[in-house]
Symmetry: C2
Subunit: 256 residues, 2 copies
């Protein structure tokens, strides 16, 4: 009964990694058992949680190649109830390596099915592209969460993302549904923020979470200390927002 959520958007720098780390931490604080899968070769989710990528024994790369079982590659984080499958730089070559491999888009899905430990949530961090790694996440997941930076260019990419999701739903994963869109880096002083927020709410209606993540300097400071925002500064607006988003998502489940 695990809810597997892919956090994806091919537009870069919209807050995918920040949302994965902080939403997962807030869910873990609500006593949910959470696994983060870092499928971005940049490995920002691993670093942002304080892992040293240079000393990793195993990583997501070994998992997707089939060299190691999912139960051996999961590591604890410093947060109770929160675990991670970390990634290292060698993941960058996987797109070239997997070119002629059968069913290359299902490798992550097949691995997740072998999990021994029950998790309440699995959150998959995706790279800023619609290539093989994001495809694997969208095939393996049940729900898609889209962080959307309230900026003009970010709005433009949404149509392309939704088209890709429909293709995947029709060809690979008929379970895939849009769980919701979370607006990020909202800045009251920037009139574009309100324009984009209105556009998105008009189009996607109740799919847009009520919680809006504000632009908050503390959020961008936390990763340099290897901590999620809820650990770095629990009282700031960023922490409050991610805690409220976690509550909204958990309550959304209870209603279903």
């Amino acid at each position: 009964n695990t809810n597997i959520i892919a956090i994806a958007n091919q537009k870069g720098g919209v807050g995918k990694t920040t949302t994965v780390i902080n939403l997962a931490t807030a869910m873990a604080a609500c006593n949910k058992k959470v696994l983060i899968i870092d499928s971005d070769p940049q490995g920002n989710a691993s670093t942002g949680l304080g892992l040293d990528k240079t000393v990793l024994k195993n990583s997501f790369y070994d998992l997707i190649r089939g060299d190691i079982s999912i139960n051996e590659v999961i590591v604890k984080t410093q947060i109770p109830n929160l675990f991670i499958i970390p990634t290292s730089m060698d993941l960058a070559v996987v797109e070239q390596e997997f070119v002629n491999i059968e069913k290359r888009e299902e490798r992550l899905k097949k691995e997740i099915e072998k999990l021994n430990t029950p998790f309440d949530y699995i959150l998959i961090d995706c790279p800023p592209s619609l290539g093989l790694l994001t495809l694997n996440a969208l095939v393996a997941c049940k729900n898609l969460l889209v962080p959307l930076q309230v900026e003009f260019y970010a709005l433009e990419g949404l149509t392309q993302l939704m088209e890709t999701v429909n293709q995947i739903k029709n060809n690979y994963n008929n379970l895939l549904t849009l769980q919701g869109i979370v607006l990020t880096m909202y800045d009251k002083r920037n009139k574009i923020s309100e324009l984009v927020a209105c556009d998105v709410k008009n189009f996607f209606k109740e799919k847009v979470y009520k919680t809006i993540i504000p632009r908050n300097v503390k959020i961008s400071e936390a990763p340099s200390h290897g901590m999620p925002i809820l650990m770095y500064d629990i009282s700031c607006s960023g922490s409050q927002a991610y805690a409220s988003l976690a509550a909204e998502i958990i309550n959304q489940e209870n209603k279903l």
Copy 2:
């Protein structure tokens, strides 16, 4: 004697497109003839200059497939001296289509060699990945310009980018050199900005441009009007910064 510059960084949202559009406009204002090549399937450079991607006759996709000559796909922009090869969404499929094609990394380079019109500068906007499209840009160019957002995660990606550049220099394009690093979205109120700026200057020394692009709300408003910042609001700090960057790059050439 054209200076072909790739603007690349696999980290997303660091200001690649914003730098391409506004640097190109500032160079055109200095009476340089400039061509922008939009090789990002998101097509933000095309939209940010006011082009309607849905009515494009031809695009970068047709060029890289070899269906049209480079001299036929170039269009004027509303800025004198500034031209663009626009892109549309269908470019997203090129990574899959080109999988088994010979010398697929040299296609852009081969096309640029056929140009009839002399340009002073060619600026290539890249997607946030180190895949085939960025590879084509790095093989075709003479210089690399790296926009670096002054944020912790952006710093992390720099090592990976430099490793890729060395590989390309050794295997495909021995002309490729790092022209410079431009710090973007600098915010004096954010202590990370200064930390990251110091780190980068210590490591890359004179390769870091003196001009630093400040975080400036007007820069994020301009694309929604289909205009570069120098057209949208010439007096704001963003315009001044990109004008000063253009001067710095043009003077760098004169010294060589």
